[in-house]
């Protein structure tokens, strides 16, 4: 039997695939962070909370209104996006003139508040959300048993990432957004309603997080804490990718997912710090990150 580093090829392929699946979540989340950061210069600490909100909205929709997974996949990001837009409009937008650190601190507080509230209402233990019947079961790929739902996650996250990237890099709207990042006042003086743009952007970022949350709901326990630790890892992903580029966030997300997946096989104890270690190495060699534009 063929082996790679002492691991049977089959098992190796399986682990690679699993890494890719987890990378999907990293990619979606770091993409949302990159969008918000890129345009608002705000590190959205509440991103993990918004991810959690997405999952919870889907759960509550199911419990109280009987709304199924597919509809939830549309409604939950919309709800969370609107909520994000509201937060941006009423509060976050007052911080743009200040040091970007205040945005970080504000969203940190926001994250605590959201998570605290859900913990208060629903407790810290998770709640179950089932895989939609049409995606239940799995496929035997020969080298592993792949739950169908996980396959779906990879595909849909790729599509979402690509779509967002195209929106920002290739459309007129995207160029307004990028310009507004650099000099809000001037873009406004050109006749573009920047405050509205920024609100939409934050809404979009939050919606992306919520989308990832709904995707995650059938895999992980839906719990108020599900985003808390994830967000730190995603920060590291973002540092490795370099915040200059949206594409960087996506690619790095997938890559680190895979790196982490392989670590879980070869040296499982280190699998939660491997991303941080990679971050340290990247910082030494390329302080701006792998895809960062500013050197």
């Amino acid at each position: 039997m063929t082996t790679i580093f002492g691991i049977p090829l089959q098992a190796f392929l399986g682990q690679l695939l699993i890494g890719l699946i987890n990378g999907s979540f990293y990619a979606l989340l770091s993409l949302g962070l990159a969008v918000i950061f890129g345009l608002l210069r705000v590190i959205n600490f509440a991103h993990g909370a918004q991810y959690m909100l997405g999952a919870f909205v889907a759960l509550l929709l199911l419990q109280y209104l009987g709304v199924n997974y597919w509809l939830a996949l549309l409604i939950a990001p919309l709800v969370v996006g609107l909520f994000g837009a509201l937060i941006e409009r009423t509060m976050l937008s007052r911080l743009y003139d200040l040091d970007p650190l205040y945005g970080l601190l504000f969203t940190f507080g926001l994250a605590l508040t959201i998570e605290g509230t859900f913990r208060y209402l629903y407790g810290a233990a998770g709640q179950p959300y089932s895989v939609p019947p049409s995606l239940a079961g799995g496929t035997n790929l020969g080298f592993m048993f792949l739950p169908n739902y996980r396959g779906w996650v990879v595909v849909v996250s790729l599509v979402a990432c690509l779509g967002t990237w195209l929106l920002i890099e290739k459309t007129k709207l995207g160029s307004y957004l990028r310009a507004a990042t650099e000099n809000t006042v001037l873009v406004q003086a050109f006749g573009i309603n920047v405050p509205l743009l920024l609100t939409l952007t934050y809404g979009l970022g939050a919606a992306l997080a919520a989308f990832a949350g709904v995707l995650a709901a059938p895999i992980y326990q839906v719990s108020p804490l599900m985003g808390t630790n994830l967000i730190i890892v995603v920060f590291a992903v973002v540092v490795v990718g370099g915040m200059g580029s949206i594409l960087g966030a996506i690619v790095t997300g997938y890559m680190l997912g895979i790196a982490e997946g392989l670590t879980k096989v070869f040296y499982p104890e280190a699998s939660n710090i491997v991303i941080f270690v990679i971050m340290a190495i990247v910082l030494l060699l390329r302080p701006a990150g792998l895809f960062g534009k500013d050197a």
Partner: protein
């Protein structure tokens, strides 16, 4: 008689953090039930229960404990979820000569090297869980094991204890994989466990980590494929959170199950009416601890610490939680533990009816012999 005309019990635990479902506010409720059931008075003094949320921070916990003892005339502190808190508060109680009864923490240190003449450990500990699941399950035929272990001291001690019992009972351990605390995705580890071919996959972790492992094991069809999952620290509250769909077939050990005896069921219903949830071993254990404490005061005829501690050490425990429980010289309350299997969705007819009792582990097997516990108070 009671020194100041009132007996005050403090329930100190996590009410907003990760362990809030484990004990939390409901433990406070259980304590109040115990007081009511006892009649609200002991030796003519009224009994009062107060509570605080230590937020999983030992420093906040010790601040509160000190203030309770020094300025609020609290006589005993109970529950104490999380071992760092329990150990810290037990040290303070020892210094202040006050009684503490731990029902929420798992570490055997409490009745081992760091034991206290006034400190008691109710409900469960890592050792008893390991004996229950490791020992009893092998006898049920689960003789090859693979461990999924949380990569920190708690996980190691669960794994080590369990593995010892597995081997002692003639089973073998085919491997283990260490996963970091608070991992979200277990599929890599589960695949490794799956390919090991072991009959039992032991989950030496806790809380959300265990829930997620179980849920993902269901997703990858591990139980359906014939392997058995054994959670080493998992309670009714968490089974409820996971749902029978994902949890079915899971094996675990608890010190209490509400539907095991009629008395327990009666208590469970009353508890349910007050909280909306059925009690787990932490809640029932807290009830038992409070009740036993009041009985001990009655017996000692005073609420003075030395006398009450002496009474607690001497009196048998008989209530809805324990039958013929006894307290060792190291403070460990020794009672029977139960190996449970989670029912399939179809098998459960009443709400919260989740367990089948597979085996009863007699107290003397379930807990460390006080003489071997390493507690300096016990003559070895």
């Amino acid at each position: 008689d009671a020194s100041d005309g009132v007996v005050k019990i403090g329930i100190l635990n996590d009410q907003s953090g990760v362990y809030a479902n484990f004990g939390g506010k409901y433990s406070y409720e259980a304590a109040k039930m115990a007081v009511e059931d006892y009649g609200g008075k002991v030796l003519g003094a009224s009994v009062e229960v107060i509570t605080a949320d230590h937020q999983n921070k030992p420093d906040i916990a010790s601040n509160i404990a000190r203030q309770w003892y020094d300025t609020e005339q609290v006589d005993a502190i109970m529950e104490l979820t999380t071992s760092s808190v329990a150990l810290a508060v037990q040290a303070i109680s020892k210094e202040k000569k006050k009684i503490d009864i731990v029902t929420g923490a798992a570490t055997t240190e409490l009745t081992g090297a760091q034991c206290s003449p006034y400190g008691f450990h109710w409900a469960y500990d890592t050792y008893s869980l390991a004996v229950g699941t490791g020992g009893a399950l092998v006898k049920e035929g689960g003789d090859t094991w693979f461990f999924l272990t949380a990569d920190y001291a708690f996980g190691y001690s669960l794994e080590e204890n369990t593995a010892n019992f597995v081997k002692a009972n003639g089973g073998t351990v085919s491997g283990a994989v260490r996963h970091p605390l608070a991992t979200t995705d277990y599929s890599s580890f589960l695949l490794q466990a799956q390919s090991s071919g072991a009959k039992v996959i032991g989950l030496a972790n806790a809380g959300l980590d265990t829930s997620n492992s179980i849920k993902q094991a269901a997703e990858f069809g591990i139980v359906a494929g014939g392997q058995r999952l054994a959670a080493l620290l998992f309670t009714l509250a968490e089974v409820h959170g996971l749902g029978l769909e994902a949890a079915q077939g899971l094996t675990l050990t608890e010190g209490f199950y509400w539907n095991r005896t009629p008395e327990a069921a009666e208590f469970g219903k009353r508890f349910f009416d007050r909280t909306g949830a059925m009690p787990n071993m932490v809640h029932a254990g807290t009830y038992s601890a409070v009740l036993q404490y009041l009985k001990a005061i009655e017996k000692a005829g005073t609420d003075e610490t030395e006398a009450v501690a002496k009474a607690l050490h001497e009196m048998p425990v008989n209530d809805i939680f324990a039958e013929n429980g006894k307290v060792g010289a190291n403070g460990r309350m020794i009672h029977d533990m139960y190996l449970m299997e989670v029912k399939k969705p179809g098998e459960s007819d009443v709400a919260w009816d989740y367990y089948k009792v597979l085996a009863t582990i007699p107290g003397d097997e379930a807990f460390i012999d006080p003489a071997k516990s390493g507690c300096p108070l016990v003559s070895q």
